[in-house]
Subunit: 430 residues, 2 copies
């Protein structure tokens, strides 16, 4: 058994403040190399897309690269590349984020640029329609060409029948087709504001420098008066077991996934979310996990098996498992094996060894994350964007350490109920 140190608190020199216009700033000094990671997070994601306008958060992320009066489209990307830097952006259910990683002396330029496109986006009519086609093509490549992605959409729709987490982040095709310049502009005006944004700077800098630069750049943006409100329909409690199955001749490797709705760190009983992190690791974290050992090694039913939980969601989380049959094993046999593994776990709970190993692994992961400047920036940004605090991030390993065996068993029994499960099957054509 691993012996735990009494405090597994994350030790990172992080400082936070807020500009007068409401923009939150987080600074994570990291002097190991002369580079900085600069990220702006907006507290709006696809789950905030207005009804009938799914995909607009992601569409706007694309349009954010289409230029301002100061920097015509492509201009700034060339500058970042010229510095030997990297840039990217991503849209999730609860947030949208933009980032650059550059040599430290260019931090001010990044701030100038992001502050500029927070309010000055050009929205030329001429770029909207072609960019919408780009997004539609992205959807076709990612979803239409991939049966697993199609099942993924069906699975999410079955898990979230009412809440917008059931709608794909990229949007439904027919709604993307209907997105207009006005839709995007209205959305931009609503969400791209200093009060809705979080600046995260990690790297070879310090609080004073970031404060000075941020005030000179982002600080010049006028406050809007208040932050936009997230207004989302809540998911009703499920009453039935649900299944979706998709057969397609392109499927080479069949697979089975199973999911359940659960609380998150922000919604419902937070302590249960900590326990569910452990449940996911015990059941499906790597090759020493329950599911892997039982289904892949001992019973030789599966080619792979894993479980996954991500509790940093604003409204509801999904606990998920996934497994694939070995060649020659049929799905019913694999599913029966999964059912037995799960029933046994719910009845007996984890062994002390399993629990201890899971705690150690989860804590170690956060320690490892500390080693990556961009991971750290991402962890702080994502956590704050959904409503967690810096303290929540730092205390996370401690809280994981503190979860008892009883709490793990109780959370698993409460949420991983067969009669509330969603099962997804990806099958070759019959």
């Amino acid at each position: 058994m691993t012996v735990h140190t009494p405090t597994a608190r994350l030790s990172v020199p992080v400082e936070a403040f807020r500009l007068a216009n409401g923009l939150d700033v987080v600074v994570v000094p990291d002097r190991r190399a002369p580079v900085v990671t600069h990220m702006v997070w907006y507290r709006n994601g696809s789950a905030d897309d207005p009804a009938g306008k799914s995909g607009i958060a992601h569409f706007l992320e694309h349009l954010m690269f289409k230029g301002t009066a100061r920097w015509p489209a492509g201009e700034f990307s060339k500058i970042v590349a010229g510095y030997g830097g990297q840039e990217n952006a991503f849209t999730s259910f609860d947030y949208t984020a933009y980032f650059q990683r550059v040599p430290k002396e260019h931090l001010r330029a990044m701030m100038d640029y992001e502050a500029d496109r927070m309010t000055g986006l050009a929205f030329d009519e001429s770029v909207v329609a072609p960019e919408r086609d780009v997004v539609l093509e992205e959807r076709r490549m990612r979803v239409d060409a991939d049966p697993a992605a199609q099942l993924g959409e069906e699975f999410s729709s079955a898990l979230f029948v009412h809440h917008p987490y059931g709608t794909p982040i990229i949007g439904w095709e027919h709604e993307i087709e209907g997105l207009t310049r006005d839709d995007a502009f209205t959305y931009y005006q609503r969400f791209y504001t200093p009060e809705n944004a979080i600046l995260v700077v990690a790297g070879d800098t310090d609080l004073d420098e970031v404060r000075t630069l941020a005030e000179a750049t982002y600080g010049q943006i006028a406050a809007r008066g208040q932050a936009p409100v997230r207004k989302r329909p809540a998911e009703p409690a499920p009453r039935a077991a649900r299944r979706v199955s998709l057969s397609d001749p392109r499927v080479r490797q069949p697979s089975l996934r199973r999911g359940w709705l659960t609380p998150t760190y922000l919604s419902g009983d937070r302590s249960e979310a900590f326990a569910l992190e452990l449940v996911a690791d015990i059941l499906g974290g790597g090759t020493t996990s329950r599911l892997y050992r039982q289904l892949c090694v001992e019973q030789e039913l599966a080619a792979g098996a894993s479980a996954y939980f991500m509790g940093s969601m604003v409204d509801r989380a999904a606990f998920q498992m996934s497994t694939s049959p070995r060649p020659g094993i049929d799905m019913a046999a694999l599913e029966a094996g999964l059912d037995v593994a799960l029933t046994t776990f719910l009845a007996d709970g984890p062994s002390e060894i399993e629990l201890s190993r899971a705690r150690t692994r989860l804590v170690a992961e956060t320690i490892f994350a500390r080693d990556s400047q961009s991971s750290l920036a991402r962890i702080f940004g994502a956590s704050l964007a959904v409503g967690e605090t810096v303290e929540d991030v730092l205390a996370w390993p401690e809280r994981i350490e503190a979860v008892t065996r009883e709490a793990v068993i109780e959370a698993a029994r409460r949420y991983l109920r067969p009669d509330r499960s969603v099962t997804g099957l990806l099958l070759p054509a019959a």
Copy 2:
């Protein structure tokens, strides 16, 4: 074989006109008894509930009985009862309707009343919260106490993952709980307008009398300028077979339902909706239907079997089948029997006898409906409320007559695909 007359057109003396303020009026004279049926239909139903405010159409239907300045709550209901009349109201996905059936001399009073509450609803704060509790109790009785109703909600959510037809008409409990006086008032202001309403009067009256009375009552309401627009998210094309199963110790009679998304008379290819009416009757209309004969009589698997299609929906319809096992028959056997019956039908199509019988039955049903004053009023009201015309109603039997065997087979094959089906299972506790 039944011989059809060449024209099965519905022969009903119906007349329609529009008031200057936009209110549509339909008059169906019927002199057989000295009574009138008076209905007001609003072109808004639960599918027009704003996101996160499910149940508001139905909640407003309740509030419509809570009084105006002229008629305090309960006053008018007493008057109608005093006339020996009946009154009621109902909310559906696409419309909300109010009706009274009274001796003919009281038609004017009904018009006075409905015109008054179209704009003059009191909305006393004191009635809103108690009435919301009434609705919550109604939901508890109808849904929470009935596993079949719970499965029904799950089934609809699985069929419509995005379009609001997947949300219960009565609303999700947590959203009903959040409905406020302001929500109801805003909704009322938006939808309860002359341009959004249809008046249907059937019975012992005529066009001139209805016109005179309608102008003196409804005609006094100011036009709003334009009718409210229905704005609903569209359903994405399904890509997977979906199943929901609900087990409950209260279930005495297990059952299985299966459904598919289809076009309607208003959306998609209308001719397919006519063909699907015939498919439903051939497969599951009464004890001479395919499913009943094969599953109940020949194979002795089922206690009942039926199919159902209702094409008068604004956006999408659901073709549905339902069956229950005989005692001792397990669901897997029943489902296998249903699969075979359906596969055979899709392969071979209907016999000429089956097709002819279905045409005759559907046409006869509309002829029978002519005999009921309130049925006729309801047919015209519902059809016009979703966007059909008087001519659509009158020509419906002719159009059913005109559907070919090839069209029936084609529509069945196109829509009743196993890999696009939704299956619902209601089971006793395991």
